[in-house]
Amino acid sequence: MKKKILSGILLAAMALSLCACGSTEETAAEDEGTEETADADTSADASGEPTKMTLILRGGAYGESLEASLAPFEEEHNVDIEVMLMSFDDLHTGIALDAVNAEGTYDLCMVDGSWMAEFTENGVLANLSEMGYSFDDDIIPATTEICMVGEDIYLAPYYGNVTVMMYNKQLLEAAGYAPEDIDSFADIQDIAQKTREADASKNGFLIRGGSADNILSDFLPHLVVHGGWVVDENNQPTVDTPEFKAAMEDYLALYNVGGTLDKDDIVASVTAGETAMAQIWPGWYTPTADGPADYRTIPTKLTDDSEAVDAVALQGVWCIGIPNNAPHKDLALELLEYIMSPEVCTASIANNGVPCRYSSLLDEEILKDYPHLEQVCGALETGVYRPVIAEWTEFTNILGTEMDNVIQGTKTMDEALSYAQEQLEQLMAG
């Protein structure tokens, strides 16, 4: 009898569980109905409850500056916005994993330019042009290049991330240079060598280590100034070339009078006066007038006598877009327009934001407090983007790993670059 009662209870528990699972669909359907209403009104539902929006953003100053500007929008539109701040890889995976769902979780997402090809080819992002969005003349034109496919806009450039040259003021002076004297990569080599010669415990230059993407991104400006690039006009790999090898030689020369560290250690080392120079992204460090370090645009000449190239600094603009399966698309567009408005962009500077607008970056009042933004503006006008190819993630994994092998001395340059070329050709051949 006891056994029968126990079996009965177990069966009842299972039946209840199944009913509970089944009812989720109905609830979801009901929710969809509510959301449709919300979409139609682009405001809260009839009960007055705030509409829930979810944003997936890059952690650090990029997402945090955006998060800090949301309160007025929430109040005005009666919405409750949840912000998810992710690491670079987790953000990419998070957006991609949600993209296959019929109805997604995220209303707005932050996207790195290097994912653009992969996301647009697979319909992850909504066409903002079709939704009625357009750029105004105040946005720095170079920052919008990565946001478009043909004439169609898929992203808006939110955070002006472009590599700049960070330097320690004291060590630069000790090497006999003023910031405005850094005209070429030969000057960078000279400062690095002099710093190490003067004190063997100091680093002349720090290169970025860690993931393959970090290693490659840090190197790309050095490659550009040597006249090389990682792919040709047909997106075929070009890494086993004399230009690449020459750039790598110079890069190794810098490494030999410095070292390799990750971003937090790089900033700490330059500000502490342990290192003379390093390439950084503006989001890592905000200089102040009396601070120990500052940054300026990366020079566009290899030597003082050589001809300047058009653009050298690497653009890593963090853009914002709306997923194609966003639950509240219309409201998301309003939010995107709000975030991209000149007033909100300018206000974001107080929260370590770096807008892609001339009016914000060159505002006289702003420049009094943040003089470095003039340099950033110049860098944003001339930066280069990573190649727009869907295979970019795998591409960086292979090339970054082989470059690391050269830097660490586990492979010769010829071995590593020839292997990388072979692997990349296979990758691009599909």
Binding site: S7, D89, G210, S211, T260, I407, Q408
Partner: protein
């Protein structure tokens, strides 16, 4: 007639017992099928396709053994397998040695066993990511306490996670530090069940500490030792968080493990077909490693 009735009753009772057994098993079976069998079969199936997550299953096609071929020909995968095997062997051996030493030591204490037990367990209670981040701060080349300490003593300092000479060893030390308490706990529990009379008999026979350890302690806890080694082997083989947070598999692939490889080349690039092939290979490797214990347990 009576006999037939008894047989009928017995059959009914047997059928009821069987039904009850089946009823008790059903929830577990459902959970196993949904949570284990289905993902395993799906992964096996996808490992023969070129399934890219963003492109969807509709556009995936069968590529037969292509994923497995490129996996075994991939130099980075080969390096990851070697790293994983070496790391697993070293980590398990070190954890077993230190865990056993700690268990014997704490078990021999007359006072303060509870406090020692709690204190020694603390590293194991922390999440792996927290452990990794804490160690990253302590080992920072700039502001890390360990380099500052070494500098204070006039010793050379290292760039622990970015140098090919130190990165692998540093992660090994961190992993051993965190997981020794697990071994300690299991062996300590096992030591508690060893009868004191066996030690008394050994002492009467003139056995010293080492002889008692070899002839009394070890035979009594060999089952727990084997179980510990198995669990630690399986767990260490799947090492991911620490590597991903601290080195991302670098420098120059010296800390790359199989799971880190699968994450980089399968998950990050959303190439789930290739990733699935790697996952199947890893499952087979873990099964081979654990088969010795499983065979012993089954017999």
């Amino acid at each position: 007639m009576m006999k037939e009735k008894r047989t009928l009753q017995r059959n009914r009772a047997q059928a009821a017992t069987a039904r009850f057994g089946l009823g008790m098993l059903t929830p577990t079976m459902i959970v196993l099928i949904v949570m284990t069998a289905y993902p395993l079969i799906s992964t096996f199936f996808y490992s023969f396709t070129d399934y890219n997550y963003l492109k969807g299953t509709d556009k995936a096609s069968f590529v037969m053994l292509d994923n497995y071929t490129s996996l075994f020909q991939n130099g980075y995968f080969q390096q990851a397998v070697i790293n994983t095997v070496v790391f697993t062997i070293l980590a398990v051996v070190l954890e077993m040695v230190f865990g056993l030493a700690m268990a014997v030591f704490v078990n021999s204490l007359k006072k303060g066993q509870k406090i020692m037990r709690t204190l020694l367990l603390l590293p194991y209670l922390l999440p792996a990511v927290t452990v990794a981040l804490s160690w990253r701060m302590m080992l920072s080349a700039n502001y890390g306490i360990i380099n500052q300490f070494l500098e204070g003593l006039g010793l050379p300092v290292f760039n622990w996670f970015m140098d090919t000479k130190t990165a692998f060893g540093t992660i090994l030390v961190i992993d051993v530090w965190q997981n020794v308490p697990f071994v300690f706990l299991l062996l300590y529990a096992s030591l508690q069940s060893v009868s004191e009379s066996q030690y008394e008999a050994a002492r009467i026979d003139g056995a010293g500490f080492l002889q008692q350890f070899v002839y009394v302690t070890l035979p009594n806890i060999k089952g727990s030792l084997a179980l510990c080694a198995l669990l630690r082997t399986i767990d260490t083989f799947r090492l991911f968080e620490k590597v991903n947070v601290l080195t991302g598999g670098g420098p120059a692939g010296t800390t790359s493990t199989i799971t880190q490889f699968l994450y980089t080349y399968g998950i990050k690039s959303l190439d789930f077909g290739f990733g699935s092939a790697g996952a199947i290979v890893m499952t087979v490797l873990v099964l081979i490693l654990s088969s010795f214990y499983i065979k012993r347990a089954m017999s």
